[in-house]
Symmetry: C3
Subunit: 662 residues, 3 copies
Amino acid sequence: MKQDCILFGAAYYDEYMPYDRIETDMQMIKKAGMNTIRIAESTWSTWEPQEGEFDFTHLDRMLDASEKYGLNVIVGTPTYAVPTWLVRLYPDILPVTHGGQNLYGPRQNMDITHPMYLKYAERMIRKLMERVQGRSNVIGFQLDNETKAYDTCSKYAQQQFVSYMKEQYPDINEFNHEFGLDYWSNRINNWADFPDIRATINGSLGAEYEKFQRKLVTDFFAWQAAIVREYATPDQFITQNFDYEWRNYSFGMQPLVNQFEAAKCMDVAGVDIYHPSESDLTGAEIAFGGSMGRGIKGSNYLVLETEAQGNLGWLPYEGQLRLQAYSHISSGSNSVMYWHWHSIHNSFETYWKGLLSHDFSENVTYKEAMQIGAEFNAIGSQIKNLQKKNKVAFMLDNASLTGLKWFPISDSLNYNDIMRWLYDAFYHQNIECDVIPVTYDNLADYELIVIPALYSASEATLARINAYVESGGHILVTFKSAFSNEHLKVYSDAQPHALTNCLGITYDQFTIPKNVTLGSNGNSYEVSEWLELVTPSTAEVWNSYEHKHWSKYAAITHNEYGKGTATYLACYFDQKYLEQVIARLWTKLGNEMPSIQFPLICKEGINDEGQLVQFYFNYSDDDQTFVYNANDGVALLDNKEIHKGDSITIPSWDCLIVKHSI
Amino acid sequence: MKQDCILFGAAYYDEYMPYDRIETDMQMIKKAGMNTIRIAESTWSTWEPQEGEFDFTHLDRMLDASEKYGLNVIVGTPTYAVPTWLVRLYPDILPVTHGGQNLYGPRQNMDITHPMYLKYAERMIRKLMERVQGRSNVIGFQLDNETKAYDTCSKYAQQQFVSYMKEQYPDINEFNHEFGLDYWSNRINNWADFPDIRATINGSLGAEYEKFQRKLVTDFFAWQAAIVREYATPDQFITQNFDYEWRNYSFGMQPLVNQFEAAKCMDVAGVDIYHPSESDLTGAEIAFGGSMGRGIKGSNYLVLETEAQGNLGWLPYEGQLRLQAYSHISSGSNSVMYWHWHSIHNSFETYWKGLLSHDFSENVTYKEAMQIGAEFNAIGSQIKNLQKKNKVAFMLDNASLTGLKWFPISDSLNYNDIMRWLYDAFYHQNIECDVIPVTYDNLADYELIVIPALYSASEATLARINAYVESGGHILVTFKSAFSNEHLKVYSDAQPHALTNCLGITYDQFTIPKNVTLGSNGNSYEVSEWLELVTPSTAEVWNSYEHKHWSKYAAITHNEYGKGTATYLACYFDQKYLEQVIARLWTKLGNEMPSIQFPLICKEGINDEGQLVQFYFNYSDDDQTFVYNANDGVALLDNKEIHKGDSITIPSWDCLIVKHSI
Amino acid sequence: MKQDCILFGAAYYDEYMPYDRIETDMQMIKKAGMNTIRIAESTWSTWEPQEGEFDFTHLDRMLDASEKYGLNVIVGTPTYAVPTWLVRLYPDILPVTHGGQNLYGPRQNMDITHPMYLKYAERMIRKLMERVQGRSNVIGFQLDNETKAYDTCSKYAQQQFVSYMKEQYPDINEFNHEFGLDYWSNRINNWADFPDIRATINGSLGAEYEKFQRKLVTDFFAWQAAIVREYATPDQFITQNFDYEWRNYSFGMQPLVNQFEAAKCMDVAGVDIYHPSESDLTGAEIAFGGSMGRGIKGSNYLVLETEAQGNLGWLPYEGQLRLQAYSHISSGSNSVMYWHWHSIHNSFETYWKGLLSHDFSENVTYKEAMQIGAEFNAIGSQIKNLQKKNKVAFMLDNASLTGLKWFPISDSLNYNDIMRWLYDAFYHQNIECDVIPVTYDNLADYELIVIPALYSASEATLARINAYVESGGHILVTFKSAFSNEHLKVYSDAQPHALTNCLGITYDQFTIPKNVTLGSNGNSYEVSEWLELVTPSTAEVWNSYEHKHWSKYAAITHNEYGKGTATYLACYFDQKYLEQVIARLWTKLGNEMPSIQFPLICKEGINDEGQLVQFYFNYSDDDQTFVYNANDGVALLDNKEIHKGDSITIPSWDCLIVKHSI
């Protein structure tokens, strides 16, 4: 979805304010050059204080005030936290989960399959939509917020799950066979015998329930979207604030939602991206979050939440807030929306600070936002709706992530670790990457597809990959790929199953490396966590293990297959050496390696005018100098000409934006 | 409360003995120079073996034998552990807590708000008091033992809590506003909707429930005291055995009891103090526990429990048991009571050894107790009832402790860590300190008030502090003070709110320090855990951060305000440097720094004769020599004269006690 | 029980196979030289898919195919995992445990005291036995698998426990006294008051419940054995697959089963032994597991499960699978049975790999098994039924293990740690050891009895030990022995109670060592975890503590008592020094120390011909050379003569087997 302008703003909570300051706030928002607020996403108990009694005082105030100051509004449906009275009426709206019986207090702890939750949520949404209808400054709607199935294992959810399995397996014996339930006497010989799923030790069944929970999320969005669309005008968009795997910051692919599927009912993908700051700011999370955000609907996306002062320890150094803002834009985001405007005085996220501190003063972070706002107003039209033409895509898959949770490599290396190991190695070397799902139809869009640990792969997926390589594509595949089918049943032929020919290798044993290294140019790089004992058939061996007993096996192989090539990493090793392997592959494919490297980062896209916009970022405490070697162009922020061959210095935590012809 | 003599003795449990040895024990107690035993505090199932059947065999034996040997007795009410039959009758006397449903087994796991618990406990107490009445060697009563609310979240407790909130907030909307319950849809729009408190994520509400639980303890004591007083004679005291924050030893302020409030119904404060021993013995826990013990009722106190052989790894080296005994006395304790006489042969605390080992022989620890007993008999009258005249007080506050639990600085730095960081820095330099509550009326009693992390501070408290400084007092305040009100609602003006003028500073941002130091005299001291970006208004900057981005902000400031001064520590840093800062402040206030330092510790007080008694302790494995520079006096233990200017050597783990005129 | 041949084979699961391959598998088993499969131990839901409906398709297939290929079969009763329908019928077949309410999914989580479990299990066993009856290649039956009481705390189990206590204590007051229940008001004054055992803090009571749970296991086996014997022929053996304390491998004595008692109803002990592999393979677990296996019934035993490729990280280096096989045989095992034939494609143990990988190919591990099979066929008759004549026995005791769980020394040193500290020190020096229970009648069978931490010891046991030493036996006893009686009541006289005279020492204090060492030959060895302050009466002091305060106490003593000697280790210290102490003792007793040491290991036994068979193993990555100094003999594997004085080199991970006259 294209935007008319970059949305710049913050989440706003009139209902949280210690005293009435809505006019002052709107003025300060305006003063910062902002144009949008996001409201209402966790307000059910405020809008509906008692069953059937509605009170939209705060909503009306925010709509009125924003209208007065010419601000856009994104309205969230307030369904991701339930009011106390609803739990009093229907205590089992708080379900059991793998962790036991939920209690009232936290958000996101209700049963999204409970009929009464759905009934009351629907009425709440309809009342809200009725109230908002006709408000011209409402530009879009956010369905719920960071939605999951919250691990519901309620009777409603489990009954649905049994029906879902039954439908897939008319013959219960086939189900038992496919899922291996003879093991440890786990057979379910009658659907009525289906036991509580929560303690299953069967990885196939446990993972299937997680897949089913992801489907509950997709279904939930479709249900809400249908309701909202009854009221929304065609130019009002529907989105959701998707979040990523959380490791105290946005780390990787979201395990609990199939975002590609879930977003099908939406107009535009919205995401939240949080990342370490201060000396730990690298831009990698912004880049990955952006790749994923673009990938969700294959288009531009909205950053609906990102940090201003952020969590404890994320207070931006001078320049960082602005650096972050352009980092999002350079990934193809059409917005920078802070969570949140003000720092909250009570409850839980008191130290997850907003743009303003608790004292509402114009602090240094707010002042930097003013600069961003001014610049967006000046050059925003030239850097919005950026289109990427990346040659590399990462093929990512929830089911494989879940598979490696049930059958872990180790305590410290899971799916997203492997993915980021690869992603960051590309990022450091300034090769921009897209993200695609395993169901992606047009693999030929890309020159190279990176396939991290595709542990759970259907025959259809593997056939599509093979066909891609045969017809000239290139793949970079890691260990633990194509090992099991879509139900985590391990394939019973040579590994890696249907990819053996394509990769030109085979293996039947693997282990945990101890004192194993890979040598290159006189250096030894540590192999850790996982190692496969690969024997090449047709593949060229790029490296073998340094180890008394495993030295006869290959560690890295490269194979020509059809018109393409397939490269295999049979073990996990030092990222420094991974960068060398990627460079070797990238140049072998006929590409030139970018001349600058992290902490200098370059990202680019084509703007609405058809011009290439390049962003050069300095992610470090020191000034960085490089030779500009793209086409002559103009530096947008100071409108100066820039020429190929110029030596350019970017100050610490600063950036340069150049526009030029392609 | 004044004592006629130092109480020296141990807890005694006739009912635990593997065979009848009461006569032998009383003789051994007597032989050790002891004069007191403490009995009965966990004996309900022994005194009342079945509902309504009472059996005081063991009680009578202990009273008879102690009387025969001229020993005092302190009798505890046996209510802190319930009998099996009571739980069979009323299973829900074991309440739910945050940890789930309690089961029978541990002590201190019943619901002190349960009507049936209270009913049966009252009858038990009355039966016991009737039995004890008229026993002339019973000198006092201990109410229960180490009492808490044991985190009861029973329906009784939660109903009382709702009533307690309702009373404070006739208008439920004010309650919602003050506690910020709009956040995450947590509003309680009707008191009947009040959800189970246990899973609340609202820090204000959660902390208020903990405050309410502390009030339950205060109420419980008042209830027991009233019963006991019906039977006690005027010269029999009422006390309680208060304990401190437990980190496998007595570390800091007790989070679960407001001891200042709780002790109002008592005659004298009793405490237990446990501390590391062997090479880890420093005396700091004894000193802090003593400051707190004195502070509870602003008077002398009783050490009702301390270690003899103690927990595993606390076997005293030669001299340490005696050193510890005088350390307690020098803090103003009027007793040294060991927990416990003999080591228990069964159950749970088998390896928390008493004065005697399991074999009841005269082991080396017992023999050292004999020396202590002999010395107490010789000089006890000159060192009891010691009065302190300390210039420094620590203002301590349960609510701030709880506040920093809900809004933690870090995993490793909580309220008591900060308090002890400061307290120990004073202790190491031989500046003795008192402890006072935030409600203390006569701040002007002190020259310097140390205020660690007063995170939750009412306007009234802050006004009292300001007035104190205005009229000539001095305060030393740390980071995280005056940040939120009494309901943990963050103040919404400049930080540190009402103290900004007094401290002459302001700040609106803070972070976790990474590679930040403070320089002093060519050394760099690490800043860790917490750092505020302070800007002085009127304050003098004593130090600033060594860091590229934070160097413009102040780390330590000192401000003249009215007739007094206010010093602020905006971050947490190396304790070595803190000692320098304290010395700078202390001399600036016109005091001289003590000439000796840890491991030589000097503590002092004025005895009943009006003479100053000074204790010099050597807390180390090596002899320590110093120049005595107080008035000429007499060394009490060997009755030798001692003169100003004498060079004195104190052997390892030994002490010197000097009495002289003031 | 003697065997006709070494049983070599694997667990086989036709019901788990992804496709029909039973013929191929039987051929491959045969090709590997194997002769036995073990089947059926977790198949209830397959054999009885619905209540009362039986389906023995897979059983029949396996019996038919194995018969066709001349393979022996061991049939397991399938009772250690319950079918889903049984849990639907009787949900409380899944009991509460200390961890709460069990849910369906894991194996071994049912209540073995539940009447309905027993009823249905009996029918299942009878149906299976009827089906198997008359099958000539079925050589034996395994009762259940790795059986425990699974911590059942169901009402059935707890009621039985109360009856069991009642029977022991007709006078409830004696029970209260012996168990110390006056403590913390825990008295049970009426059997009807008996509280839920799960939260008891009384170590005596808690440990007694664990002893009772071990008795449940013994009773369960007796019940199953009686049923199976109704159907079995006299030449079909009854066994069980006993496992050991599990620390991700078989570490030490099994805490939850008294295997000596449990095996009384069986013909032969079966065990599983898993151990680290690759560079961590030492043979120590195989040796200890073998000592224990022999000890269970005082005879040869069967290794019913051991690893082929094993758990992740245990992929055998070349030679290791064969080295392991002979290591088992050299301990007196009459079998090497892998768990399991093939790697499982679903569920839970997918990465606990079998002999075959998931692809069923002839991998390198399978090929090494072929070599083992060929060699067993060639020389098996000369190395089976090996009889040991060890001079040293370890006296091991479940109750002491449990005692030290309730009264732990430290987080890192428990009973099995102490036992292995000693066992491995003997192992490293090639002194082979037996294992005996505390009830062992003929202590005089041994020259030296090693007694690790016999914390819980009845008077009878201690009297038997004293008598053994008096009449010429030798004991090596560690700290923490003879401290408490059989109910964990600490003895109330001088420690170590009844052993004071025999050991010639006494002590009444102990602590955790800090900076304590033992000196020997100019080296200092660390003392850690535990230290007793021992005073010798008649004992010779072999070493004392290096420490300012503890140096007056003895650390290691040696006493002559009657015709024997008693050596005491009063602390835990560096194993290197322990080996020196053992060598000193061993030579003092008139023995010669073996000339080779780990990584060269020598184990031996007398075969059916009355010849001595010696196995020399090289547990290292390097070749090892030694001088052969036993009688002239013949190397069995290559049939070469070998002479005393020969210099022999054993390649890395290889072995030499020599047969010679005694």
